[in-house]
Amino acid sequence: MTLSGESYIVGFVADVLGNFEQAVLLSVLRLGDGAYGRAILNEVQARLDREIAAGAVHATLNRLEGKGLLTSSLGPGTEVRAGRPRRYYKLSSSGQRALHEARAAVNNLWRGFRSPLKGHS
């Protein structure tokens, strides 16, 4: 079986972008202008319905920024943070493309199956 160029790229991006990375990117997208570390941590925890270590989210944000899928900028601190600044994240155009491609890859895998699954157990 041969893969077309498009499906090869889709498969490659889906492999590169893990589930947790997708959860973080989608949280950044959902939070819009309010996407900073703590808000992203809480959003990811709510979506995945489990407690997540802040270090895991921080490492993922750094990695995604390094890959060019996110950009960041500093915002002012608040009293509750003892004046420490917030780092706000935004999805770059590459990040949006990667999310679209990851979704397309999953849709591709599910093509031909009806939900709920019947007769495949």
């Binding site: 900073y36 570390g37 703590r38 941590l41 809480n42 270590a53 802040a54 270090g55 895991a56 921080h58 490492a59 750094n62 500093l74 601190g77 608040t78 509750v80 943070r81 003892a82 420490r84 600044p85 917030r86 780092r87």
Partner: protein
Amino acid sequence: MTPPMPPRWAETLLHLVLNSRDQATVSGDLLEEFRESILPTRGPWAADGWYIRQVMGFVVRSHVLPALVFGGAFVVRTALDWLQPPADFHTRSLVSTLVAASILLVSGFFASWKSGAILAGGLAGITTTALAALLSTIGALGLLAIWHDPTTLQAIKGSGGLREVFFLPLMLIVPGALLGTIGGVVGTLVHWSVRRSS
């Protein structure tokens, strides 16, 4: 009234393992979560526990790679001593000592280069060695589970015995701190010289 703060030592530890770019923002995120969500719902003791767990997550995460290399090297050395025992351990010991020292120096260098603090190097040495000790213990137990025939048991005895396999990695924590600090001094110098020139 002074606003509640997490344990100061944990905040210091957090700063030591973070890149200087992220120190204020990440500690601010944790402080905000601590004060607004965790403390009101869980109380002071549990909130302190939550904060310490988060910091430990950062500490382990930032040293897991050198610890894997160090622990892996230790397990390989143990396997070689048990399965291919040499007539003279001197060369093998020299090579493994140099490998271990290099890993700890590099680990300390990068930790201090990242954070800009000499102490980060010492912490890297301690954490890397402690995690590697844990990994090498698991690895040695695995080796023992596979190979425990009389010939191998004799080779284990000849290479220093099981006591050395399980206690030597723990005894390396102090030299690990020292080597990490030496690497940390160089890393800090590079950090500040790069910062000054840019």
